[in-house]
């Protein structure tokens, strides 16, 4: 297996981009990444696109071909593949690129992630998100996506004494970070009182416990590690990836307060990277709901089970604290264009490890991690990144 490095990154503004189409934002992110990598279009061997539900959001399947075509790549006839896996699709697209380069199949690969969610109404968008859970045995009985995460939150509160305030502290922190990120959907701080006072979506999760619906795209250029310096002064190595799956329905899980897919994906990634959780300086974890971040930092072994809430409340996951978590603002504040999520998380880690994160820079960051979920944890992907010496 060859080493793999990231040599270019680019993303669009995240938010409600009424005036921009799926193909426009996809191309903008891709062109920025290619420029950043200083490669030519003819250098690209393949394209992987993470996209959760183009078919339902914009009535367009086969989006990998759409993006390649409008990026002007149709004449080069490169292989293009869309990757789907619920909310984890962007992270899975990155994993496919990693595997393609590591195996020697390709030398230079572009990974895109994009979702255009605001072309449908809020309720319809929420239903589309819920379709990553079990439609036959959850959704038809009234399960919504927030409801399933609320069920996890309630059990976590019951078993570990996690409080509503501790959940809220995740949202407050991530908005504080988002305020420092110029591409974030919400660049505004919020208070604990605002989170606690917001209308309930699915008790105990209120409006501010949920990541928003967003449009946005993100792209990354990867190449074989030994060729990275040719294109880039500060290549970032994608050291290892771990992927794991679990039951599609939440009710079939062994434990409602632990995502075994996260635990296993994390173990696999750390093992391959020959690193331990303590080595990580900065992490982007899947905070589609506030409870998700608390469970993720426990399941990735950054904190003991049950300590995710208290640690967050004490500020241990804030910028430049014990472990900087979701410095981009996370899904909560940066926004949640689903297909773009895993790619945007990786971009944040690249910026941190290049020391280009501006006001939200983690001092001396050497090792970074991304964690991305599909559904209610039926898929989990963990990538580990390191500054190349």
């Amino acid at each position: 297996m060859r080493g793999v490095a990231i040599i270019g990154v680019g993303e669009t503004q995240f938010g409600e981009l009424w005036d921009r189409s799926f193909r426009e934002i996809g191309i903008e992110a891709g062109l920025k990444a290619i420029e950043d990598a200083r490669i030519r279009a003819e250098d690209i061997d393949a394209l992987y696109v993470g996209n959760m539900s183009g078919g339902k959001f914009i009535d367009q399947e086969h989006v990998s071909a759409v993006v390649a075509d409008y990026a002007g790549l149709s004449d080069s006839h490169i292989p293009t593949t869309r990757v789907e896996g619920g909310g984890a699709c962007g992270a899975l697209a990155l994993l496919q690129a990693y595997a393609a380069i590591a195996s020697g199949l390709h030398d230079i690969v572009v990974v895109g992630g994009a979702e255009k969610m605001t072309d449908v109404g809020d309720i319809q968008a929420a239903e589309i998100l819920t379709s990553t859970a079990d439609q036959e045995w959850e959704s038809i009985f009234g399960a919504t996506f927030p409801a399933l995460y609320a069920i996890m939150a309630r059990r976590h509160m019951y078993e570990y004494g996690t409080t509503r305030e501790q959940l809220a502290a995740v949202a407050v922190k991530n908005h504080r970070h988002g305020a420092l990120n110029p591409v974030a959907q919400y660049q505004k701080e919020i208070t604990l009182e605002q989170v606690l006072g917001a209308p309930m979506v699915a008790d105990p999760l209120g409006v501010f416990d949920c990541a928003p619906l967003s449009d946005g795209a993100a792209a990354i250029v990867l190449c074989a590690r030994e060729k990275a310096r040719k294109f880039c002064d500060t290549p970032i190595e994608l050291v290892a990836s771990g992927q794991a799956s679990d039951t599609i329905a939440l009710h079939d899980r062994r434990d409602m307060t632990t995502m075994d897919a996260t635990v296993v994906a994390g173990k696999r990634a750390f093992h391959k990277a020959n690193l331990v959780p303590d080595d990580v300086d900065v992490a982007e974890v899947h905070d589609n709901f506030t409870i998700s971040e608390i469970m993720a930092i426990e399941d990735l072994r950054f904190f003991k089970k049950g300590q995710g809430g208290p640690a967050t409340e004490k500020g241990e996951t804030a910028l430049n604290a014990k472990l900087s978590v979701n410095t981009s603002g996370g899904l909560k504040a940066r926004g949640q264009p689903v297909g773009a999520t895993g790619v945007a998380q990786a971009i944040e880690i690249v910026r941190q490890l290049r020391a280009e994160a501006g006001k939200r820079q983690v001092t001396g960051a050497e090792v970074g991690l991304t964690h991305t979920l599909g559904g209610t944890g039926a898929t989990a992907v963990v990538h580990i990144f390191r500054r190349m010496k």
């Binding site: 309720i123 929420a126 239903e127 819920t130 439609q135 036959e136 045995w137 959850e138 038809i140 009985f141 009234g142 399960a143 919504t144 927030p146 409801a147 399933l148 609320a150 069920i151 996890m152 939150a153 309630r154 059990r155 019951y158 209308p199 309930m200 979506v201 699915a202 008790d203 105990p204 999760l205 329905a249 939440l250 009710h251 079939d252 409602m256």
Partner: protein
């Protein structure tokens, strides 16, 4: 959900039909053709079994925002229930004030309207659970 898609699962949605693995005895709901514990050993040994519909609440939420077909039910309680036979399912808890639902609460199955297909489509029925009253 399209009519045939709902109709195919009626035995389980009306009558809690699950399966028992002839190899290890584990009971699953909804029915499975392969036991997650035994894998290939269970092939051809999964037998249908009607579950009693008694269980307790593992966790729950009160849903305030939901798709339009659930509008008239809001706010409603959605729970993961563990059945006495061991299998778990996701269901609404009804005939109770949302504030009275607790983890560990004993519940029993009942038969209710779940929703309908589209604006004026076929009405879909199935299981919901309610507290066991003394």
């Amino acid at each position: 959900m399209a009519t045939p898609r709902f109709w195919r699962e009626i035995p389980s949605r009306y009558n809690l039909l699950g399966t028992r693995c002839g190899s290890c005895g584990t009971i699953d709901f909804p029915p499975r053709s392969i036991c997650p514990q035994c894998g290939r050993k269970s092939l051809g040994k999964m037998t249908k079994l009607k579950l009693k519909g008694k269980g307790s609440v593992i966790s729950y939420t009160v849903v305030h925002e939901a798709p339009s077909q659930f509008d008239l039910m809001k706010p409603y309680v959605l729970a993961v229930v563990q059945l006495e036979e061991g299998a778990r399912l996701t269901t609404q808890i009804i005939d109770v004030e949302p504030g009275e639902v607790k983890i560990g609460m004993p519940v029993e199955v009942t038969f209710r309207r779940l929703g309908q297909e589209g604006e004026a489509g076929v009405i879909q029925y199935g299981y919901k659970f309610r507290p066991v009253r003394d």
